[in-house]
């Protein structure tokens, strides 16, 4: 992580020095992480693409003022979380779309809408995992996804989410408890 942090810092400095291409490199470096994070938050590929791209747009505009108080990665994920929360707050129709996603999963159909975005996951267990993770309350899902799929420590997650270490610990515990219950047939 230290090596990556230093490389990120170099790119950030280059961007702040006027090299726009440095930001392109940061996007290439983190697009997959950002996309998969948004994918696990939203459950839909088209929405994940849009949300993660919005995150990069926000990052582009704010990067000049970035002072390296956190790693670029944590900072980017914080932006993504904020965009995700803004979206939840302001677009009520997303709830209706999530219901459609659940209905699709229940009928065992593919729940990724954009076929040109790569291979779809067809395994039954994969579908179940996605559905159960989507069913988690928002904060529990955020914490779980950041920890399990992005390898973040509790402190790093607290930084990204703007909450305390104890909040992270508690929500991760609750998420695990819930998943162990809802997925007991698969464990």
């Amino acid at each position: 992580m230290m090596g990556t942090d230093m490389a990120d810092a170099e790119l950030v400095l280059k961007f702040q020095g006027g090299q726009d291409g440095a930001f392109d490199d940061l996007v290439r470096r983190y697009m997959r992480d950002a996309f998969s994070f948004c994918m696990r938050l939203t459950g839909r590929a088209d929405e994940a693409e849009e949300l993660s791209q919005e995150g990069f747009v926000t990052a582009y505009r704010a990067l000049r003022g970035f002072r390296g108080e956190a790693s670029f990665r944590s900072w980017l994920f914080r932006i993504l979380i904020n965009r995700w929360r803004d979206r939840r707050r302001s677009r009520r129709r997303e709830d209706a779309r999530m219901e459609l996603v659940k209905a699709d999963v229940e009928s065992r159909g593919a729940h990724l809408s954009s076929g040109d975005l790569g291979e779809l996951d067809a395994g039954e267990l994969g579908d179940v995992v996605k559905e159960r993770v989507q069913d988690l309350p928002d904060r529990q899902r955020e914490v779980l996804v950041l920890h399990v799929y992005h390898g973040m420590s509790h402190h790093e997650i607290a930084d990204v989410l703007g909450c305390s270490y104890d909040d992270v610990k508690m929500n991760l515990s609750l998420a695990r408890k819930r998943l162990r219950e809802t997925m007991k047939d698969y464990l």
Binding site: V27, R28, Q53, G118, D121, L187
Partner: protein
């Protein structure tokens, strides 16, 4: 030796690698000796394996994804100043600025782009000097700045627009207003999101400046309403509450009235107890009283002590 009750509260942290040194060793020693706690750790491991085994599925298409990010960035940059420039242009038409113009030679075309780039990162003093040089450049300089607004890189578009907005020539500022009205709004951009951007506390400050003139007050209130409705980030929200507080705390009745008007029309969340102090201020006391009644559904008249007691506050 650690008991199960104590260990259970730390098992997940041990599993997650959050414990260090002696603490980790103590909990681990308990797990090694306790079948129940060891089983708990094993269940965490199993869950993690199953979760990690489910990939996200779709993947972003590299260069197409990057191209889309760039496209959205350009659209956002344009929309941001489109929302602000008509207000700035209107305000600056009304504000009389005394310019002391030296007579430097007009800058060349390539110099103009360089000056625009320099402006973005410059401090206020240098920005003023650049504006002075460009404003003295005549029709060619105006044409070059207009060209940057229409087709330059997003940062240059924004800066060129700001520089044009500050011209004292009404035809220039009118061109800017007409241009911004002519451009179709991008479907990717929601102006309501303005308040969500990290640097929009600057827009809050500028909007409050517009409130100072009776001719631009409505423009300022309109921008503040848009910002507030769009959802402010923490920095911008602090800036707004801070400005309102400053107005209400000002010894000037005009400022206090302005603060109340912002509270009323924009819907800013503000600590109501602070309004109690204004109840006995001539003219403004009525407005403060009406606002408190409306927000609390209580009526204690002009009795400051009663209001203070209601808020649990000491006078």
């Amino acid at each position: 030796m650690m008991t199960c009750d104590t260990a259970r509260g730390r098992l997940e942290e041990l599993f997650d690698g959050e414990l260090r040194g002696d603490e980790a060793a103590t909990v681990q020693a308990h797990v090694d000796a306790c079948a129940a706690c060891a089983a708990e750790i094993a269940s965490f491991r199993r869950l993690e394996e199953v979760l990690r085994g489910a990939p996200a599925g779709a993947r972003p298409d590299g260069e197409r994804y990057l191209a889309r990010v760039k496209e959205k960035t350009r659209a956002q940059e344009r929309s941001r100043w489109l929302a602000f420039v008509p207000v700035a242009a209107a305000a600056l038409l009304m504000i009389g600025l005394a310019w002391v113009l030296a007579s430097p030679p007009p800058p060349k075309g390539s110099d103009i782009s360089a000056l625009v780039d320099e402006y973005r990162a410059a401090d206020a003093k240098r920005q003023a000097a650049i504006e002075e040089k460009l404003h003295a450049g005549g029709a060619d300089t105006v044409a070059a700045l207009k060209a940057l607004v229409q087709s330059g890189a997003p940062q240059r578009q924004q800066v060129a627009a700001v520089i044009l907005a500050r011209y004292q020539d009404k035809s220039v500022t009118q061109w800017l207003v007409d241009y911004s009205n002519r451009e179709p709004a991008s479907q990717d951009v929601e102006l309501l999101e303005i308040g969500s951007e990290p640097s929009d506390d600057e827009l809050v400050g500028s909007a409050f400046d517009l409130l100072r003139s009776s001719k631009t007050r409505e423009d300022g209130l309109r921008v503040l309403r848009k910002l507030h409705k769009g959802g402010l980030n923490r920095q911008a929200a602090y800036a707004m509450a801070d400005r309102v507080k400053g107005l209400l705390a000002s010894p000037s009745p005009r400022d206090q009235e302005l603060g109340l008007e912002v509270l009323k029309t924009v819907g800013v969340k503000f600590p109501l107890p602070d309004l109690v102090d204004m109840l006995d201020v001539p003219e403004l006391g009525d407005k403060a009283y009406e606002f408190l009644k409306q927000q609390t559904n209580k009526d204690y008249g002009r009795d400051k002590k009663a209001w203070a007691d209601y808020f649990g506050r000491r006078l």
